[in-house]
């Protein structure tokens, strides 16, 4: 069964008037170009602005999506990362980076966790 792309939505708490429905797309969402539909709308209860993004076309089978996801080539992963980073830029002015250089060592046991954290902003429920 093919699955229609869903909206990925998060709420941003920008400085007043910094982001309105008529605003140009914030970075890095702007970089997704024509591949996505975007909605910018006021959030209920004066909670800020809702940013909603979905793939413009290309309904996918769950199998195809799963394979792409594992390979890190699912466009939904890029949407999640772009949304999270746009929110951080609008709210704090920069994207928070993990510590570097790492203090950890790669072992057989922690390889799956390292793979998961490499996708830390590209996965999740968003």
């Amino acid at each position: 069964m093919r699955r229609e792309p869903r909206w990925h939505v998060l709420t941003v708490n920008p400085a007043r008037d910094e982001l309105t429905p008529d605003s140009p797309l914030p970075e890095p969402l702007a970089g997704l170009g024509d591949a996505v539909d975007v909605q910018i709308r006021r959030a209920a209860g004066d909670r800020g602005v809702e940013l909603a993004v979905r793939l413009r076309d290309g309904a996918q089978s769950p199998v195809t999506e799963g394979v792409r996801r594992l390979a890190g080539r699912d466009p939904n992963q890029a949407i999640r990362a772009a949304l999270r980073e746009a929110k951080q830029l609008l709210e704090t002015g920069e994207v928070l980076h993990p510590d570097f250089p790492p203090t950890t060592q790669t072992t057989v046991v922690n390889k799956p966790l390292q793979m998961a954290t490499r996708q830390g902003r590209r996965e999740g429920r968003l």
């Binding site: 704090t92 002015g93 920069e94 993990p98 790492p102 203090t103 830390g120």
Partner: protein, 391 residues
């Protein structure tokens, strides 16, 4: 630099690791002067939170001196003596603006893990696994502090390092339990756990006007310490009938507010301890919620229960019937320390809040594995081991 590293379940070492570097313009680098063990570290050490990697630096309760600041840091300069909140919070998202700092939307660089497990991701925490951002911990000579203007607080001159250290985590966590648990003048408050956080919750309840505060534990030295330094009553669950005593001391009503400061590795004397141990070791439940069950059971009708102890995921035999039919309010949170730390430092300066007694064992960082062994096994009356990397 030297740091205390998690090498595997119940395995620690002090080794050389790369110095931290500035990664964001709002970062600061802190030279750590004092860094404390915390009961919640034991869940990481024992493998109950399976998101650690070999080489992760432990520690989230610390105080130090600013040695480098990013160009966007406004409040701090090199040389400032600061205590740092254990949670990484941006200060600008909706949650931070509601003063729910540990729920920060932007403080965790790995939100996918906790979103998948818990539905949504809280903020990050130093030295608290890759589920909470993978930030290196404070049991090291230096540490990177993101959003330094938000999370680092200048320590007043009149407050010693020894006292201010616990403004990083134990004191604000305890204060939050009493505050958000709704403690008010005249209340009877029961606190499960007389470790650092439980003691601070009990003291907060006193300062918020509670008429009777009763702290519950099994270690006589901790209970004596609470009586001596906090001005509270105590109950030893190994030698006293907790339920009977709480009824007697609250006029048969039960405590108005019950604060649980124990977490996922609770102990008890009854058969439920064996039951939970077996289920936890077989991974049929991740957490042993014995103290939480007791808090719910003993709380008065219409009362409030606050969970300060850390829980990771799933528990068994949770008393929803008591919770619902007694009309209880149940809350929990990781600490919203940014909300309380300035006020706590003022109280420390005035002498209303003393914490030095918690640091029962102070030692160089090189001895940290020994310190954790003492702390974990409660050897020599250890309540908190504190490490001094420069010693």
């Amino acid at each position: 630099m030297k740091a205390l590293l998690w090498q595997g379940v119940n395995e620690l070492s002090v080794d050389e690791v790369p110095d931290p570097t500035m990664r964001n313009e709002q970062d600061a680098i802190i030279r750590v002067r004092k860094t404390a063990t915390c009961g919640s570290d034991l869940h990481l050490l024992g493998g109950y939170i399976p998101f650690m990697e070999r080489g992760d630096v432990l520690g989230h309760e610390f105080l130090g001196e600013v040695v480098e600041v990013g160009p966007q840091v406004r409040k701090h300069k090199v040389g400032d003596r600061v205590v740092v909140c254990s949670f990484v919070s941006c200060g600008h998202c909706w949650y931070c603006q509601q003063q729910q700092y540990s729920l920060c939307d932007n403080g965790n660089t790995n939100p996918a893990i906790t979103e998948s497990i818990w539905g949504f991701a809280p903020g990050g925490c130093y030295g608290y696994s890759h589920a909470l951002g993978g930030f290196a911990g404070s049991h090291a000579e230096y540490i990177r502090v993101p959003y330094a203007d938000q999370g680092a607080f200048t320590v007043p001159d009149e407050v010693s390092d020894e006292r201010a250290l616990f403004a990083s985590d134990a004191a604000p966590t305890g204060w939050m339990g009493a505050d958000l648990g709704g403690v008010k003048a005249g209340d009877v408050v029961a606190v499960w756990g007389a470790g650092g956080v439980g003691q601070m919750a009990a003291r907060a309840a006193v300062l918020l006007g509670a008429e009777r505060v009763i702290i519950i534990d099994r270690f006589a030295n901790r209970l004596q310490m609470a009586e001596k330094y906090l001005g509270v009553e105590s109950l030893n669950y190994q030698t006293q009938d907790v339920g009977g005593e709480l009824l007697e001391r609250s006029g048969g009503r039960g405590p108005d507010v019950c604060i649980e400061a124990v977490g996922m590795e609770s102990h008890s004397t009854g058969p439920q301890y064996l039951y939970d141990q077996v289920k936890q070791q077989l991974r049929l439940e991740s957490d042993r919620p014995i103290a939480a069950r007791e808090a719910i059971y003993h709380c008065r009708k219409g009362g409030s229960v606050f969970l300060l102890g850390v829980y990771a995921n799933l528990v068994d035999k949770f008393p929803l019937g008591a919770l619902m039919n007694k009309g209880l309010t149940l809350r929990g949170a990781q600490q919203h320390g940014h909300r309380y730390i300035p006020m706590l430092l003022e109280r420390m300066a005035r002498g209303e809040l003393v914490t030095e007694h918690l640091a029962t064992h102070t030692m160089p960082l090189d001895e940290a594995p020994h310190g954790y062994n003492m702390f974990k096994n409660k050897l020599d009356g250890c309540v908190r081991a504190v490490f001094e990397p420069a010693r």
